[in-house]
């Protein structure tokens, strides 16, 4: 989607390795979010940010950490990847959450 890019688009990694996913925006939006999407669970919030260096946990934050050192980038790190973290990860941005989000195209992560 215009204004928001996720990288990589696909990644296969081994159990126990650290993995970092990147979300980059050019919209200068204040809020950024990381969700994971799994069959039967819909979208679940992992972490979100409401400003540079301001982050908070979502409902499924265990095993994940985030950093936001500048407005445009929000990094999601799997500290030690497990097979249960195999999922599709979506980043979203918003300037006014009450008006809606813009989503990235997703990162498909497979942990083997």
């Amino acid at each position: 989607d215009a204004g928001i890019t996720q990288s990589p688009r696909h990644k296969v990694t081994e159990t126990g390795t650290p993995v970092t996913l990147r979300c980059h925006q050019t919209e200068n939006h204040r809020y950024m979010y990381w969700y994971r999407q799994d069959p039967g669970h819909g979208l679940r919030l992992i972490h979100y940010s409401y400003g540079v260096k301001d982050t908070d946990k979502g409902e499924v934050s265990d095993g994940y950490s985030v950093s936001r050192s500048k407005t445009e980038d929000f990094l999601l790190t799997l500290e030690s990847a497990t097979s249960s973290q195999t999922s599709v990860y979506f980043c979203a941005i918003s300037e006014d959450p009450s008006a809606g989000y813009t989503f990235g195209s997703g990162t498909r992560l497979t942990v083997v």
Partner: protein
């Protein structure tokens, strides 16, 4: 936590028919949003309805909101094959978070 629950989970119709999806939520909201997700893509914001609105239209989309029943419906009229996608409702949580339901998968057969 407040969460939208969509019904049905899956819907299959013929092109030209109308498609109706329902969403129920648990707590008071100030707005409810609908999103579409095409296979392998991110979600796209479709329409937002505020708590003081009962109905809203956007092209072939019609959304209703009944706050007394804590439910919303999304109607797609004269469906097309390109409407094949998953549809999600979302309600605002604390701190600017959106809580998504599990979605309705719509298949429109040509």
């Amino acid at each position: 936590s407040q969460q939208g629950e969509e019904d049905p989970q899956a819907l299959s119709i013929q092109e030209g028919e109308n498609a109706t999806m329902n969403c129920s939520y648990k707590t008071s909201i100030n707005n409810l949003q609908w999103y579409r997700q095409n296979s392998g893509r991110g979600l796209v914001h479709l329409i937002l309805i505020r708590s003081n609105e009962r109905e809203k239209h956007s092209g072939r989309l019609r959304v209703t909101l009944d706050t007394s029943k804590k439910s919303s419906s999304l109607l797609i009229t004269a469906s097309r094959a390109a409407d094949t996608a998953s549809y999600f409702c979302a309600t605002p949580g604390r701190g600017g978070k959106l809580i998504f339901g599990q979605g309705t998968t719509l298949q429109v057969k040509p």
